[in-house]
């Protein structure tokens, strides 16, 4: 294993674990899930162009509840991606996070936000192909998807690791993140922030996985 292991939870050959590195990511994800649970959204201020006027917008309660539910689900999926000891489960959680990121803004009645979410959704769906292909190649060549076992059996094929990296980048990191920048214009700061939190933590976890397997 790459970092010092603090906790393990074996399920057959799949060993879920927390290392010194992933525990930092886990704490951060848990903190933002709690913040999504207890925070109310902001009241976005919009400037009336051409005047000195401005107005504040109230976020409807039903929209807030929907966004909160999606953000909490996204946070839990992120925690799953951080703690899992299985490459396939990781790719599933990654794909799940991509869908939930769209879900967080899906009910926002703003054409620009929805257009950006649609574009982002296309990239996310395409990114799942290299993501699952990478996991499939690892399973085919190494005979296991357990990160714990892969850590002791020598490196997985470079092409598989690169495919997983490209897949995770497609879930919302540079250079595929540009649609995501636009969807964060949507109101509901504690929930919108989860879009960014989940992508960054997913990327940080995949770095650890790729260095380990």
């Amino acid at each position: 294993m790459f970092e010092q292991i603090l906790l393990t939870l074996p399920f057959g050959d799949i060993v879920h674990y927390l290392s010194g590195y992933t525990v930092v990511l886990f704490a951060f994800a848990a903190m933002f899930v709690i913040l999504a649970v207890i925070s109310l959204p902001e009241k976005p201020v919009d400037i009336v162009f051409g005047t000195d006027g401005y107005y504040t917008k109230e976020i409807p309660v039903d929209l807030m509840k929907f966004q909160r539910f999606m953000a909490i689900a996204c946070g839990i999926a992120t925690i799953g991606a951080i703690t899992t000891g299985d490459v396939f489960n990781f790719t599933l959680f990654a794909a799940f996070i991509g869908i939930l990121n769209i879900g967080i803004v899906a009910a926002v009645k703003n054409k620009h936000v929805l257009d950006a979410a649609f574009s982002y959704g296309l990239v996310v769906m395409m990114a799942t192909v290299p993501l699952f292909a990478g996991a499939a190649i690892i399973a085919a060549t190494c005979g296991t998807l357990s990160i714990w076992e892969l850590a002791g059996t020598g490196p997985a094929p470079l092409v598989a690791r690169l495919l997983i990296l490209v897949g995770v980048l497609g879930e919302g990191m540079a250079p595929f993140y540009i649609g995501k920048a636009e969807i964060t214009r949507a109101p509901g700061a504690p929930y919108i922030l989860m879009i960014h939190v989940s992508s960054l933590l997913l990327f940080l976890r995949v770095v650890e996985i790729l260095l380990t397997v």
Binding site: F2, Y21, L25, F28, K43, T56, A174, T184, L200, L211
Partner: protein, 291 residues
């Protein structure tokens, strides 16, 4: 623990002094007298005793929590550098700083801060060169322990900056992109008032100033440890000041880029440094040469 607390207090004042020096150097290059170097310490003390409240339009819990998380992240990063722990954890903490910029901007409800936050998301390309830097340092030294990397450079008389110069440039660009008044500082550009932290005032601003001071000390000291080695404390201070002054020169002499230009420059450098990392991997591992 007491030693770390003393280091923390020293680092906060050192970081604020470095910010003051940054402003002074920029001012002198631009033929202005500029503020005294201790101005940022005075600012932080002044903000600490200003009236502090939470704007009515803000997401109240998030508005406060994000400030505390900012301080927490950089205190943890200082701990990582101090203990010589894993470079990967330092990388993670730096990446999580992005959430701070984003959260600070989104939580207030102000359009200015929100634009700053969105620009922060767009400039995410700065993080990939940092990952490439981590990878290159690992390829050269075979460890991610900051303490071991720093010690190995002294033992082998081989500073990483000499053998992996592009990696050093990458980390330097990261420091430059996080410096105030720099060419990449689009997230706090003047057309957005102060950008993502415009609406954090009083005690909140004082805490954010402390976090930013810690960030500067952590990044500069990490640069010295990773690319020059474990040097005596007085040399560490000199090197950090030299680095800061060089950053100030660039900030003073370079206009602020547009967000599009920022992303373009970061993306081009990302491609260059990733290609360099691939070449290093091929030469060191495929070719079987290890230092």
């Amino acid at each position: 623990m007491i030693a770390f607390l003393l280091l923390l207090i020293t680092a906060v004042f050192a970081g604020l002094l470095l910010h003051g020096l940054h402003r002074k150097v920029i001012a002198r290059i631009q033929s202005r007298p500029g503020p005294p170097v201790w101005q940022e310490i005075l600012h932080t003390l002044k903000f600490s005793f200003k009236q502090t409240w939470i704007p009515r339009t803000a997401s109240q819990v998030m508005y406060v929590a994000i400030v505390l998380i900012a301080v927490g992240i950089w205190v943890a990063a200082l701990w990582v550098v101090w203990t010589g722990a894993s470079l990967l954890i330092l990388f993670a903490l730096y990446m999580l700083h992005k959430i701070i910029e984003h959260g600070t901007g989104l939580s207030s409800g102000s359009p200015y801060t929100k634009f700053g936050a969105i620009r922060s998301v767009m400039s995410a390309a700065a993080e990939l060169p940092l990952l490439a830097t981590v990878a290159i340092v690992y390829l050269f030294w075979g460890t991610l322990s900051i303490g071991e990397i720093a010690a190995l450079q002294i033992e082998t008389h081989t500073p990483t900056i000499l053998v992996a110069f592009p990696a050093a440039v990458s980390l330097y660009l990261i420091i430059l992109s996080k410096a105030h008044y720099g060419p990449f500082s689009v997230i706090e550009a003047k057309e957005l008032v102060s950008g993502y932290w415009t609406e954090h005032f009083g005690g909140w601003r004082a805490l954010l100033n402390i976090a930013m001071g810690l960030k500067t000390v952590v990044l500069l000291s990490a640069f010295v440890l990773l690319f020059i080695g474990a040097v005596p404390w007085w040399l560490m201070i000199i090197l950090m000041v030299v680095l800061m002054v060089s950053v100030s020169f660039i900030c003073a002499a370079t206009p602020m880029l547009t967000p599009y230009q920022v992303v373009t420059v970061q993306t081009i450098w990302t491609v260059i440094v990733v290609l360099y990392a691939a070449v290093v991997w091929l030469v060191l591992y495929a070719g079987g040469i290890i230092i």
